[in-house]
Symmetry: C2
Subunit: 211 residues, 2 copies
DNA sequence: TATTATAAGTGACAACGTGTCACATAGCAA
DNA sequence: TTGCTATGTGACACGTTGTCACTTATAATA
């Protein structure tokens, strides 16, 4: 977390610092980026930097939090639009989310983030989700409440939450793979939908009875 | 790839260097590890190091390749044992593989590898690995040939290959998650089997017709 | 206005890590 | 002995990090 000192800064100076950092992080991974470059980009002194942030990571996570798309609303809306259908809801959500990431003006930043971070991203996504689960959506509704459960082999709400989480990590993994393999937006979307299809309907032919 | 000079070294010296590197990489990530420590551990001079390896990464990937379990045979055997059954074969394979990783004397090294693995490292290591060894199984047998296809919704062999690969990445992701959530071996295995079940049979109740 | 307390800004600096290079040494064949 | 090749070495230049004693700005108060 940035210090209070950082938040007290003038908007102009804050923007300068953020822009300088984004420039660095858009072409380099967290590990390759250097504070020296960032403070040079932003024309602030090295000493000042350490009055705002603990270290490079601190700044980086702040930026991720700042620019991360609030996927919860997108997800919620997607499921509402598709009347709670698991497959269609996720398809809608995933395709839109991929589009957002790939067409974002922060493209370079996101690309680097996905290519170089796995553990942290998953952890962040999970924490985010847990927060959303504990708290309540702005409208007072939760994502798990707008997913039609009667067409799913789900016994407990806990299991649904666990599936919903898993699909999020599948989406993130697919986006990552798309960046690495330099897939087009459409190819990345198709890859996600294919995996979603597997998970929704299974790769095995239907049994007489469900397991 | 290490240089010929490295391979020409006496077994004793090679072992000393590998041990020194494993010590460092068992407690630190690739980024946090330092060549300075490794050469100090192995009591070789800094200059020598650079005659054997291009850089830290070069050594790291060499070690991954050296100690990586040759999962192909384990996978092949598992499917043969389970008579080509997709679910049972993967269950058998995944459980054994997880056990191997977690009970390995190289535990610390693997733990660190999984915890700090990102997509780029993963893929680079894979490229290194493919380069070092032939792509074909020693016996000339392919895994896709021992998976019973008639119980799968598979049209082309390409699709099967793509599913098989995906399941491998699901397994790796699950192992990673197990490490950072500090799950027990059994919990990690159960998590993998649950996901395998989803992917095999789907989370949706069986349709009258498959899609 | 002068005084004072608090907040913010600064860059030199020590510590540490990297990759290189000119040079040293060992092994061996002619 | 001479020469050739392979291997070993550590000082060095360069870059990065986090700190710290010190300076400057801001604003409240006498």
């Amino acid at each position: 977390m940035p210090t209070q000192t950082f938040f007290n800064l003038s908007e102009e100076k804050k923007k300068r610092l953020i822009a300088g950092a984004m420039k660095e992080f858009s072409t380099k991974s967290l590990n390759d980026a250097s504070i020296s470059n960032i403070v040079k980009n932003a024309t602030i002194s090295r000493g000042s930097f350490y009055q705002y942030f603990e270290d490079k990571k601190d700044l980086y996570f702040y930026l991720i939090g700042k620019f991360r798309y609030n996927y919860r609303k997108l997800m919620y809306d997607s499921f509402v639009k598709e009347e709670g259908d698991f497959f269609k809801g996720y398809k809608n959500f995933g395709e839109k989310y991929i589009l957002y990431i790939r067409q974002s003006p922060k493209f370079g930043f996101f690309e680097n983030m996905y290519l170089h971070m796995n553990y942290q991203i998953n952890q962040e996504a999970r924490l985010d989700f847990d927060k959303a689960k504990g708290k309540v959506m702005p409208e007072g509704k939760r994502i798990v409440d707008v997913i039609k459960r009667d067409s799913l082999k789900i016994n407990t709400e806990e299991e649904l939450v666990s599936i919903v989480r898993y699909l999020l990590s599948v989406l993130n993994d697919t986006i990552m793979e798309g960046f690495w393999k330099e897939l087009s937006i459409e190819e990345t979307q198709q890859l996600f939908v294919k995996r979603l299809e597997w998970i929704t309907y299974g790769v095995a032919v239907s049994q007489k009875e469900e397991d």
